[in-house]
């Protein structure tokens, strides 16, 4: 495989867990709630996905469990942020610690388990297309689902009533209330939905990508998903681009090392984060898409004491 093909394949492979989580987080952020605990939802999803697959033998059941786990955790975040009015960033971090602890506590027995993980499925015909075929159509089933999820979410956000409510909750909450729609409920549902997707992202991580469960295995990719959602919240397609960008940046290090390229391993490790800062700066200078109004308040520190 050529370098660029491998890079793109790695981008999709590694970017998919981030994509799920970022899509989820972007919905939540559209409704005005930022969830730093996304990493925690991914962790819970990773454990739930792995454990339930181990018990049931079916990775799809595992993914369903992952979604449920992620949703449950994020509902804690939603409750405290929306009903108890706690600061979003601090609460998210606390929820992350909670997830770290709980998954450690209850995941101990599953380190030794083996599961029926998702296998690569070559899409007939499409996978034979040079380059694109290898990159896009020789992946696991959850990756294919994510391809469909992106336009579906776009339709949801921009062409459906519930999506309209979600966007309104973040940008013009007064409009919702004046129409008698419950803003907080909409926000909570967005947070829970976001958590479910993040949980699936974690489940994909453990049942498709790494085929393993270890405590604290998400190792910061949840934060990455939050960063992607922040700069791409306007559109699920942008989220996809951002997620793959990161996936590729993470995959770059081993690809270069294997070819004997002598770049320092720590410089390569820092690359994804530097890259994102550069991208954010470019986007920011062009003055496009500020965050939704409700989210602005969080960042201005004005949403709480």
């Amino acid at each position: 495989m050529s370098f660029s093909t491998e890079l793109m394949t790695g981008a999709v492979l590694g970017g998919t867990p981030i994509l799920y989580a970022a899509l989820g987080e972007s919905i939540s952020e559209r409704a005005g709630v930022i969830n730093l605990g996304t990493e925690g939802s991914m962790l819970v999803g990773a454990l739930a996905g792995y454990a339930i697959t181990a018990e049931s033998g079916n990775p799809w059941v595992g993914l369903a469990g992952a979604a449920l786990g992620g949703a449950l955790l994020s509902s804690v975040h939603g409750f405290f942020v929306l009903w108890r009015k706690t600061n979003q960033l601090a609460t998210g971090l606390v929820v992350l610690f909670l997830a770290l602890g709980l998954t450690s506590l209850f995941g101990v027995n599953y380190v030794q388990s083996t599961i029926n993980s998702f296998q690569t499925i070559d899409v007939p015909l499409l996978s034979k297309i040079p380059v694109i075929g290898e990159v896009l159509f020789q992946q696991t089933a959850p990756v294919y689902v994510s391809y469909a999820l992106v336009p579906l979410l776009w339709l949801f956000l921009f062409r459906s009533r519930p999506g309209l409510y979600v966007r309104a909750a973040g940008e013009r909450a007064q409009v919702l209330t004046s129409y008698g729609r419950p803003v907080r409920l909409v926000q909570m549902l967005a947070v829970i939905g976001g958590g479910a997707l993040a949980g699936i992202g974690g489940g994909v991580l453990s049942t498709a990508y790494t085929n393993a469960w270890f405590e604290n295995m998400v190792q910061g990719r949840g934060f990455v998903a939050v960063a992607v959602a922040v700069f791409a919240a306007r559109s699920p397609f942008k989220v996809m681009a951002g997620a793959y960008l990161f996936g590729g940046a993470f995959a770059l290090s081993p690809l270069l090392q294997v070819r004997g390229v002598g770049i320092n391993q720590f410089a390569l490790d820092a690359l994804p984060y530097v890259l994102v800062i550069v991208v954010l700066t470019v986007i920011g200078r062009r003055g496009t898409s500020p965050a939704p109004e409700g989210l602005q308040a969080v960042f201005e520190g004005g949403a709480s004491e």
Partner: protein
């Protein structure tokens, strides 16, 4: 109103300052043991600290299993354990906590625990502190020591199996950070493979993490895409790479643990820890009051030549031929007596000479020389 607020703040301020001042004059804890007696005599409690989770199917689990085996061997001995003890000053605190609970023997089982371990040893002359994997430079205190097996010996033998098994002549090594043990392992693996297959090359990928499954997956995938058909690793948790390789039909050489159950299709061999005998012997020596001046009161390294290497070969997989097994058995005899995995001539990656022809280096020389890769290894190391 303003005055009241300031007064209130003043109260809180004074209280906090008072608390911290009290803490600042805290009575230091001195150890109760006499300095003249050897450490650990008649101990009834032993403490173990691990750097990672005790069930990582790898390094820490092996140490934990060894600790639990002590319970069986010494039924009256209380075994305290703490996992996820980071390699910074937190480790000092955790070890001190164990000492305060009566531990007179401390095992600090990770590479980076050395400095905290020495701190604890200095403070408690009656506690024997042994550290796994590092070297005490200069004067070794009476109550401290390091221990390790010569891990690269079974890795060398596994390299022979890999060299025989590969068809593409491309072997893969996923490691975390360029510490001396890792470099020695990679080199030994390459030398073992090259001894039966001069064209074999070892491709290395560093993940900068001891257990990050996503990075491990990326590393394994990129190696396999390059045509690597046998892969091994130096990581704390080993199952991700093992399973990915098995799924893709790539040969697996294990490390730290016997993961053959995870790679039923492609398991070749590997190396794993059997700490129980060594842990047991160290504890026995300490309990008898004979630690100071013993071989453990030093940088104890045991290998095939000097005793019972706690790092042993893993079972063979189905694909390994009887010929290969015989060859490896012969090599094992050789390096246990007159030979060495690093028997000269050994050339470095840059063309220099690590060991000249005819040289049979001892363990100390091997440790000293392994700061760069040998020829046939693809990968970069920091300059120092």
């Amino acid at each position: 109103m303003r005055q009241r607020r300031h007064a209130r703040v003043g109260v809180v301020a004074t209280l906090t300052a008072a608390v911290m001042a009290v803490l600042a004059t805290a009575i230091p804890v001195t150890s109760a043991g006499a300095a003249t007696e050897t450490c650990g005599k008649g101990a009834d409690t032993v403490g173990f600290i691990f750097v990672g989770p005790k069930n990582d199917y790898g390094y820490n689990q092996a140490a934990y299993d060894g600790a639990m085996a002590l319970k069986k061997k010494f039924p009256k001995l209380k075994v305290l354990t703490a996992e996820n003890v980071p390699e910074n000053d937190d480790a000092t605190r955790v070890m001190e906590s164990m000492v305060s609970k009566g531990a007179k023997i401390i095992f600090a089982t990770s590479y980076g625990h050395l400095d905290p371990a020495l701190k604890v040893a200095a403070k408690h002359p009656d506690v024997c502190v042994v550290q796994q994997g590092n070297f005490i430079k200069g004067n070794v205190p009476d109550n401290a020591g390091t221990y390790f097996g010569t891990v690269y010996e079974p890795v060398y033998l596994a390299g022979i199996a890999a060299g025989k098994a590969t068809k593409s002549n491309k072997l893969g090594y996923v490691y975390a950070l360029p510490i001396p043990q890792t470099i020695a392992n990679i080199n030994a693996f390459a030398l073992g493979a090259q001894s039966v297959n001069p064209d074999a090359k070892v491709y290395t990928v560093a993940t900068s993490a001891w257990c990050d499954p996503s990075k491990q997956a990326d590393a394994a995938n990129s190696l396999i895409s390059q045509g690597v058909d046998v892969i091994t690793q130096h990581q704390d948790c080993t199952s991700t790479i093992t399973k990915i390789a098995n799924d893709k039909g790539v040969g697996v050489v294990g490390y730290h643990a016997d993961a053959s159950a995870l790679a039923p299709k492609t398991w070749i061999t590997g190396s794993q820890w059997e700490w129980a005998p060594l842990y047991g012997d160290i504890v026995k020596t300490i309990l008898a009051g004979k630690f100071t001046g013993s071989e453990y009161n030093d940088n104890y390294r045991v290998g095939y030549k000097t005793g019972s290497n706690p790092f042993v070969q893993s079972p063979y997989g189905k694909s390994v031929t009887a010929d290969t097994k015989a060859l490896i058995a012969d090599k094992l005899k050789e390096i246990s007596t007159t030979g060495s995995p690093f028997a000269g001539p050994v050339k470095t990656q840059s063309g220099g000479t690590m060991f000249p022809a005819g040289d049979i280096p001892d363990y100390a020389a091997i440790e000293a020389a392994n700061t760069q890769f040998v020829q046939g290894v693809v990968g970069d190391l920091p300059k120092s």
